[in-house]
């Protein structure tokens, strides 16, 4: 499933390692949207984000030939590189403005969720929507990051673990805990007619 990496991405990656510049360009265009999307969750500062993306690709280009970068999933590799690069830059800027530094020197994952109005039928009570939205916003940053990587980026647990520097077990557990907690809110609060919801959206 999501854990499998497309063989052809590997072909592209290997072509790049063999010195094909067109493959390098193709890799850039293949992943740039996803990298920007992920990067924006880690920092709101465009300056840092763009510099980091530049560093990731320039560094990748320069590493070729010097050391063999054999990776099981290029996407996960790029995500890890981007996260590390952003983290490093955030620490640097914090050192410069040491006065306003707060204790955390981690790149905090922040995601903004908006109501997906069209999905919830009008019969959903305002209270339920509010509670659910609140609960989602209150998930830990880690849980939000796992949800983003798994559902929106389609990464498998082993890649998520690498990107977040946690164990596979922990990634899975954190996700399940989040889902189960949200599920319970629905059970308690929901009075909307899910049959109606289903027919309306099919």
């Amino acid at each position: 499933m999501a854990d499998e990496v497309k063989d052809d991405v590997i072909i592209l990656w290997n072509a790049f390692l063999e010195g094909d510049d067109k493959a390098f360009t193709a890799i850039y265009f293949l992943y740039i949207h996803q990298l920007l999307s992920y990067g924006r969750k880690l920092t709101h500062q465009n300056e840092i984000l763009f510099d980091s993306i530049q560093d990731v690709f320039v560094c990748l280009y320069e590493k070729r030939g010097k050391q063999l970068i054999s990776v099981s999933n290029p996407k996960a590799y790029l995500f890890v590189s981007l996260k590390n690069s952003i983290l490093k830059k955030l620490i640097q800027t914090q050192k410069l403005h040491s006065v306003e530094t707060d204790a955390s020197n981690k790149a905090e994952f922040s995601a903004e969720y908006s109501f997906q109005d069209q999905i919830i039928s009008s019969e959903t009570s305002e209270v339920t929507r509010h509670t659910l939205h609140q609960a989602i916003q209150n998930l830990s940053n880690g849980q939000k990051e796992i949800i983003f990587l798994k559902f929106e980026q389609g990464l498998g647990y082993s890649d998520i673990a690498k990107v977040m520097n946690i164990t596979v077990e922990s990634a899975r557990k954190q996700l399940y805990r989040a889902l189960v907690s949200l599920r319970e809110i629905l059970d308690k609060k929901t009075i909307f007619n899910f049959f109606y919801f289903l027919t309306k959206n099919s």
């Binding site: 063989d7 265009f29 530049q54 899910f194």
Partner: protein, 395 residues
């Protein structure tokens, strides 16, 4: 509760909730009718997924373009350009990059989810633009030029590679499972290869075959772009799978032809003997696989995403691997395309309606190219003009 979590591990389910397609909707609607007891859990899971989706941010093209030009200037490519161009011209590079982006956006970003198409386009670009020499690229990065117009590659029992029946190469043993060899045949050349399992593959002009140095898995998998004729070594335990961008062909021990050029509208599989199963890669999840009988052609339409089966004269589809073309009331367009690929030439028709004229006959490809084209022209009532070494005109 476990069942509830299972939905989130099912990629089909996640896709349905986040990026529904008509096929996915149809599938899950059917599923719901068959499993009414799961209705509540499915509704909850789907609702949660949609609420967990991020606000969509659309990245501006110019952000992506200017980032790309920044990267290009910092990589070696960019550095050499810097030396070549005086400082004033440098800012223009940015616009060049923007142009590249719009070109690439067209090719590469049509569908971000469909990675394999991106790669096929890229590979097609490579076959067309790169050197004119057929070559074997080993998993360790070594490149072997095959030099002959009709080259051969054979694996012997000990894993050594014999090129053109004379040169022997002992490749370094591959360490990674993902390591792959590539046989790249440009237009105007063709080749045959005997794979480590004894399967013979004839590769037509403008094709790439990607295969592992050894078949260690439960299936023998190769990836094909272009056209290949396969004679699969019999081994019922380890099925042979030819993957293309759009379809996969599963065989045990049989002969068949696959034509999957990135620029063609249909991907054609023609079975000569034995049996094969043709699978569509990622279209309709509940469409049945197609089992072909000898003499049948399965044509996968890339636009309609549908496969249709018809009975054909097999020889006209596979004769190329024996060095000739045979056709029975075949459109001139199709013949011209085949000849253009085989000889790496361009043939222009004075009048487009000539292209739909039906032609029957046989062409010996290995004879002198001018003579072959002359035969085609005279037997079908056209006149041939040679414009230069690689360009011809028919009217």
């Amino acid at each position: 509760m476990d069942k509830f979590l299972d939905y989130f591990e099912d990629q089909h389910f996640v896709d349905w909730a986040l990026n529904p397609t008509p096929e996915l909707c149809k599938f899950w609607d059917t599923y719901l009718i068959d499993h009414p007891d799961e209705k509540k859990e499915i509704a909850y899971a789907k609702l949660l997924l949609t609420q967990l989706k991020q606000r969509n941010e659309k990245e501006e093209c110019d952000v992506i373009a200017s980032l790309y030009s920044r990267i290009a200037q910092h990589t070696d490519q960019g550095k050499t350009k810097k030396k070549l161009f005086p400082k004033l011209i440098l800012p223009l590079l940015k616009y060049a990059a923007v142009a590249i982006v719009f070109l690439s956006l067209g090719i590469l970003l049509v569908n971000q989810r469909n990675n394999s198409r991106v790669i096929a386009q890229y590979q097609a670009l490579k076959v067309e633009n790169n050197e004119t020499e057929a070559r074997l690229i080993l998993s360790d990065g070594g490149k072997i030029l095959l030099r002959e117009d009709e080259s051969t590659v054979e694996y012997d029992q000990e894993g050594k590679i014999i090129i053109n029946h004379k040169d022997t190469i002992s490749p370094k043993s591959a360490s990674l499972e993902t390591d792959m060899n590539q046989l790249v045949i440009p237009f105007g050349k063709n080749s045959s290869i005997r794979l480590p399992d004894g399967t013979n593959v004839f590769l037509n002009a403008g094709s790439i075959l990607v295969y592992p140095p050894q078949f260690k898995e439960k299936t023998r998998e190769v990836f094909l772009i272009g056209e290949g004729y396969f004679e699969v070594a019999h081994n019922p335990e380890i099925p042979f799978v030819v993957k293309t961008n759009d379809i996969s062909i599963l065989a045990v021990g049989t002969s068949f032809n696959v034509s999957a050029y990135p620029t063609d509208k249909t991907v054609e599989t023609v079975l000569v003997e034995g049996s094969v199963v043709v699978k569509e890669n990622n279209t309709n999840i509940f469409r049945k696989d197609i089992e072909l009988k000898p003499g049948e052609l399965a044509g996968f339409d890339r636009e309609k995403l549908e496969t249709s089966v018809q009975v054909v004269n097999v020889n006209s589809f596979v004769a190329w691997h024996k060095g000739y073309l045979q056709f029975e009331s075949t459109e001139l367009n199709r013949i011209v395309l085949k000849l253009e690929r085989y000889y790496n030439i361009k043939i222009y028709l004075n009048n487009p309606t000539l292209g739909i004229r039906k032609i029957t006959g046989k062409l010996m490809l290995r004879e002198d190219r001018d003579r072959v084209l002359e035969v085609l022209a005279s037997t079908s009532g056209f006149s041939l003009h040679k414009i230069n070494e690689t360009t011809y005109n028919l009217n």
